[in-house]
Structures are given as C-alpha cells and as structure tokens.
C-alpha cells in the first residue's frame, strides 16, 4: 500500500529549498535550509556529483506548467531544483 505521505511533496518552509533527482526510485529528494551551511553544502555536493555524471539541472519556479531554467551551478536560493539523467536518443 502506497500512502499519500510517501508520494506527496514534503511541505517546504519559506527558508527551505528542494532538489529532486530523477532516478530508478521515482526521485530522490534533498531538502536544505538556506540558513544551514552544512545542509546547503551537502545539497551542493550532491548537485555537483550529479552534474559530473551528466545530469541536467533545472530550476523550477512556482507550479502548474511554469517552465524551468537550465542551470549549471547550484543555487542555494532556489525553491525547487530538478535533476534529470543524461538524455540519449532511442
């Protein structure tokens, strides 16, 4: 049984940002508090590690169809980042 809590986004505080990494598990979430240096650095480290693997990073603002922006560097001020695995032709 999949509960709603397992699926829904964790509500973010205004001071928090979230990185969602698309993977085999659906996606992995990393949340950081902008005022917490350790959390920011941990998120940055993950971001950089995934970028090295060829992941594409997007900063998404708002909801409901707002398109994202491609980013190359981690932005701790971002509300939501989505990282997608390298794309290949099928």
């Amino acid at each position: 049984m999949i509960t709603e809590e397992q699926i829904l986004d964790t509500p973010l505080l205004p001071t928090q940002g979230m990185l969602r990494c698309i993977d085999e598990n659906g996606d992995t979430k990393i949340i950081w508090d902008r005022g917490n240096r350790d959390e920011v650095e941990a998120a940055r480290e993950t971001f950089n590690r995934l970028k090295k693997k060829g992941y594409l990073a997007y900063e998404v603002k708002g909801k409901e169809g707002n398109k994202g922006d491609v980013i190359d560097e981690f932005n701790p001020e971002a509300e939501r980042l989505i990282m997608a695995p390298r794309m290949v032709g099928g």
Binding site: I22, D23, E24, G26, L56, E64, N66, A84, M87, G89
Partner: protein, 223 residues
C-alpha cells in the same frame, strides 16, 4: 508429451517384469526401436510406465510419481530418481526448505512491486506538479499532454508527450495531426512519468539540444 511407443507381444519370449519393460522402453526411446515385448497386446508406454511405477513403489520407499500426459517421461524419471534415495525425514526437510524458499521469493517479489509502485506514484506526482490543469486533464484522460514551444527562430510549435519512454514525443502540425515522432529518454531506466518530466523540461529549455539528441521519424509532411 510422452512419446507413444506401441508395445506388441512377441510369442515365446514374453517379458512380464515392468522394470524390464521400462528399461527397454528407455533404450528404444534413446534412438532405437520403440517396439518392446510384453505379455499383453495393446500395451502402450503410459500403461507400462504406470505398471512399472506401481511395482517399483511397492518395494522402494518413499517413492511417488504422478504421471500426466503433459510431462515428458524423462522429466518424471529424473524427479523420481532424485527422490528415491531420500528418507522420509530428508524428504520432509527438502519440502520444508522448498516452501521456505518459495515464501522468501514471494516476499522479495512483493517488496520489489511495492518499490516499483512507489516510484511510479512519486514520478506521477512530480509530473503533475509541473503541468497546467488542462495538461493534467489530458494526461489523466488520454495519457498525453501538449506543450507549446517558441523556437529560437520565433516560430511556435506544439509537441505532444505521450505516456511512455521511447518514441513517445510527437511534433503536431497546424491541424493537430502528428508530423514527426521523436525518441529520446534518460539513459537510466526510470518510471515513464519521470521520462516525461525530463522530456518536457528539455524541450522547454533547450529544444535544439532535444532535437539534436533525439532520433526522428517523419510521419507526414505538414499541410
């Protein structure tokens, strides 16, 4: 299927022992003649095997083989041969072990299924969070959503992303009918909805790169 070996009676040197019948039948089945000798006329292999098993089981314990016409005889024989040297305790232990293994496999399967369902549900939620209400509605009703893109040259294009992983993106003509089909997806295996998120974001932010990466199939010329 059990090969049918019609057994005929040869007068003068009839063999009545089922194990001999079986041995001869096996030899015959290995490439020689299927014809063997017995005391009965119209004695087919299935009957011979049944009789042989009955006799053999009366003197050897524990042995029990169920024969159906759908199991090749050699499989039955291998199973039977594997069991015939077991004591009752060993057979019970073997059965218990098999049952335990079956239960473990079922648990593992349920665990994987749960993980897969969770991944799919999470991916679906992420995708829906990026869609406008009208896009979410067509996704729900028809398993696709449309994207309007302004290309670098200023032209407006409409793409349709179907639920799927490969070959699921279409460029629509002005009449709404697909003109081209594109195949591009994450190099990892991810749920379909995550593939659709990746395709959507890539198309919206870097259409040129999307088109350069994708394999394209021309469906028809634009009207």
């Amino acid at each position: 299927m059990v090969p049918r070996a019609v057994v005929t009676c040869s007068s003068g040197s009839c063999i009545s022992s089922s194990n001999v019948i079986w041995a001869q039948w096996v030899i015959g089945n290995s490439g020689g003649s299927y014809s063997i000798t017995t005391t009965s006329s119209n004695y087919d292999t299935a009957t011979a095997w049944y009789d042989w098993n009955q006799i053999y089981t009366s003197s050897c314990s524990p042995t029990s083989v169920t024969i159906t016409d759908y199991i090749p005889t050699d499989y039955v024989w291998v199973d039977w041969a594997g069991q015939q040297h077991l004591t009752a305790e060993q057979a019970a232990a073997q059965a218990a072990e098999q049952e335990l293994r079956r239960q473990e496999q079922e648990k593992e399967y349920a665990k994987r299924l749960q993980k897969l369902l969770k991944a799919q549900a999470t991916a679906r939620h992420l995708l829906e969070s990026l869609l406008r209400p009208d896009q979410a509605a067509t996704l729900k009703d028809r398993n696709y959503f449309d994207l309007e893109i302004t290309s670098r040259d200023g032209s407006r294009k409409r793409y349709r992303i179907h639920k799927g992983r490969s070959g699921n993106v279409e460029l629509l003509g002005p009449d709404g009918v697909p003109i081209r089909k594109y195949c591009v997806h994450p190099h990892l295996y991810v749920p379909d909805e995550d593939t659709m998120v990746a395709q959507k974001l890539m198309l919206e932010t870097d259409e040129e790169r999307f088109l350069k990466t994708a394999n394209m199939t021309e469906l028809r010329r634009a009207a």
